[in-house]
Amino acid sequence: MASSRLLWATRAASYLRISVFHRGFSTVLKDLKYADSHEWVKIDGASATVGITDHAQDHLGDVVYVELPEVGAAVAQGSGFGAVESVKATSDIYSPISGKVIEVNEELSKSPGLVNSSPYEDGWIIKVKASDANEVNNLMGADDYSKFCEEEDAKH
C-alpha cells in the first residue's frame, strides 16, 4: 500500500536525503488503529471515529480548512473522503474504514486548528457506522504505527 500522505515539503526533503528538523516524537494512543496514510480510527461499538494523527498534523502545519463529507455519504477503506488544507499544502484524507458517515465534526468549520491542537480528541473529523469490523485487521496498532513513523522520518 502506498503511503499516501505526508506534507510534500517534508517528503521532497526526504527523497533528497537532506536534513529536516524534527520536533521530537509524536504522540500515539494505545487504543486506536492507524492507517499508513496517517489517519486513526477508534472503534466504539458500531460507531468508528476517524481523525488524522499527531504525526500528520505536525507535518502539515497550521490547518486552516477541513473539507468534510455529508452525513450519509459512503466511505471506503483507503479511499479519500475529504481534505485538510494547511497554510500552503492541500492533503486528502483517506478513510481507514468502510461504512456510512453518521456524524461530522462541525466544530472544525469554525476552528480547523483543533486538528493541530487536539488531533485525537476535539479534532476528530467524522464518525462512521462501520460495515465490516474485520477491516481493522488491515490497520496498524500503536506500536507498529510508531515504528512506521520513525522509519519514515529516518529516511530523511
Binding site: A9, R11, L16, D62, V64, E85, V87
Partner: protein, 408 residues
C-alpha cells in the same frame, strides 16, 4: 516576482509519489540531489532548524522551527531575515549600458537618479514577460539588477545574445555576474533599526528603491531599500565570505526578534502584498499591462517604445488588455493556482495563479487573471475548488497595506 513555482513543485511531487513507482521517483530525485546548489548559509540554515527543499536548482529553507503562519506574522510585527542568495545579481557596465538595458526592459532607466532603482520587466518580441527584476542605476555607466533564480539561465542567455549584437554595432557594455556575492533580505519594522547598528551610514536618508554601496558589519555591501514582503526593508548583497557573519550579526542585534524566515513565509508575505511570483502570476505570454504593471512603463517609453514587444504593449495600452490580473478573497477552502474563476452566472472568466490562506488577515486570498471588466473591486465571482464553487469577490491589492519607507 521571485522564484519558480515552489508550491506546484511540492504538490506535483506528492501526487506523483502517490501514484508512481516509489523507487523510480526516489532515483530521479536522488540523482538531482548532487546537482542542487547550496548557498554559503546552507549549514547555518540546517543548524537553525531549516527544512531544506529543492527550489529552482538550489537547496533552500522552506521554513525553520516556527510554523509558516507564525513566521509570516513575525516578519510584519518584528522582522524576518531571508537568504535569497539563489537569486542572480548582475552588473552591466560601460558608457552605453543604459541604452542597452532599455532595449530589454520597460523602465525609463535614463530618468532614474543615480542610486535609485525600480521594479521592471524583461519583455520578449511579443510583449510577454521573460522575467521581472529590480533594476538600479548605480551611476550612468553602471546598472545593477537582480533576476529570479529560476530564470537565471534564460535571462543570461537573452541578455548575452542582445549584448553581442549591441557590441557588434559598437556599443560599449559589458557584464559581471555577482557569483562572488550572497544576498540577504532583511524585512519588517525592525529592519532599519537593527541594520543601523551595523553601519555608520544614516539609513533614515535612504528611501524605498534607493541604492548605496556602503560598509555594513565590515564588508562592502550593495544595499537596496526594497524587498518582497510589502514591509520596509533591505536587500543586502554581501561578499560571500562575510555573509555568515552578517546574518549572525543581524539576528544578534535584534535580540532574537528578527528571525530566520523561509520560502514558505516569503510566499505568504508577497501574496499578501499583492506582488507577482514569476512563473505563477507572470509568464512568457503575459504582458506587463495584463499583469497590472502599467505603472512600471516609463512615460518616455510609452511615447517612444524601443523595447522588445513595444508594439503589442503600446497597442494594449491604447485599447486596453483583454485580461487582467486581479486579487480575490473567498470563502471555503483556500483557492490554489489553476482554480477556475467563474462569474456569478457560472461562466468561466479566468484562473487563479496564486492563492492561499493569509496568516495576517486570517482569510483566503488569491490572485489570478480574469476577463477585463470582471477585474473591478467588488465584482462577485465563484472560485472552484475540487469541483465545488465557493463565493469570492474581487479585492483591491495589496491585501495587507504596504509600509515602504518614503520621504514624507
Amino acid at each position: 516576482m521571485r522564484g519558480g513555482g515552489l508550491w506546484q513543485l511540492g504538490q506535483s511531487i506528492s501526487r506523483r509519489l502517490a501514484q508512481a513507482d516509489k523507487k523510480a521517483v526516489a532515483r530521479r530525485y536522488f540523482a538531482s540531489e548532487a546537482d542542487l546548489k547550496k548557498t554559503v548559509l546552507y549549514d547555518f540554515h540546517v543548524s537553525n532548524g531549516g527544512k531544506m527543499v529543492p527550489f529552482a536548482g538550489w537547496g533552500m529553507p522552506i521554513q525553520y522551527k516556527d510554523s509558516i503562519m507564525d513566521s509570516t506574522v513575525n516578519c510584519r510585527e518584528n522582522g524576518g531575515l531571508f537568504d535569497v542568495s539563489h537569486m542572480c545579481g548582475l552588473s552591466l557596465k560601460g558608457k552605453d549600458c543604459i541604452p542597452f538595458i532599455e532595449k530589454l526592459v520597460i523602465a525609463d532607466v535614463a530618468a532614474l537618479a543615480p542610486g535609485t532603482g525600480t521594479l521592471s520587466v524583461f519583455t520578449n518580441e511579443k510583449g510577454g514577460a521573460i522575467d521581472d527584476s529590480v533594476i538600479t542605476k548605480v551611476k550612468d555607466d553602471h546598472i545593477y539588477l537582480v533576476v529570479n533564480a529560476g530564470c537565471r539561465d534564460k535571462d543570461l542567455a537573452h541578455i548575452e545574445e542582445h549584448m553581442k549584437a549591441f557590441k557588434a554595432k559598437g556599443g560599449d557594455v559589458s557584464w559581471h555576474i555577482h557569483d562572488e556575492r550572497s544576498l540577504l533580505a532583511l524585512q519588517g519594522p525592525l529592519a532599519a533599526p537593527v541594520l543601523q547598528h551595523l553601519t555608520k551610514e544614516d539609513l533614515s536618508k535612504i528611501y524605498f528603491s534607493d541604492f548605496r554601496i556602503i560598509d555594513i558589519n565590515g564588508a562592502t555591501c550593495f544595499l537596496t531599500r526594497t524587498g518582497y514582503t510589502g514591509e520596509d526593508g533591505f536587500e543586502i548583497s554581501v561578499p560571500s565570505e562575510y555573509a555568515l557573519d552578517l546574518a549572525k550579526a543581524i539576528l544578534e542585534k535584534s535580540e532574537g526578534k528578527v528571525r530566520l524566515t523561509g520560502l514558505g513565509a516569503r510566499d505568504s508575505l508577497r501574496l499578501e502584498a499583492g506582488l507577482c511570483l514569476y512563473g505563477n502570476d507572470m509568464e512568457q505570454h503575459i504582458t506587463p499591462v495584463e499583469a497590472g504593471l502599467t505603472w512600471a512603463i516609463g512615460k518616455r517609453r510609452r511615447a517612444e517604445g524601443g523595447f522588445l514587444g513595444a508594439e503589442t504593449i503600446l497597442k494594449q495600452l491604447e485599447e486596453g488588455p483583454k485580461i487582467r490580473r486581479a486579487g480575490f478573497t473567498s470563502s471555503g477552502p483556500p483557492a490554489r493556482s489553476h482554480s477556475e474563476i467563474q462569474n456569478d452566472k457560472g461562466v468561466n472568466i479566468g484562473e487563479v495563479t496564486s492563492g492561499g490562506f493569509s496568516p495576517c488577515l486570517k482569510k483566503n486570498i488569491a490572485m489570478g487573471y480574469v476577463k477585463s471588466g470582471s477585474h473591478k473591486s467588488g465584482t462577485k465571482v465563484k472560485i472552484l475548488v475540487r469541483g465545488k464553487a465557493y463565493d469570492g469577490v474581487v479585492t483591491k491589492m495589496p491585501f495587507v497595506p504596504t509600509k515602504y519607507y518614503k520621504p514624507s
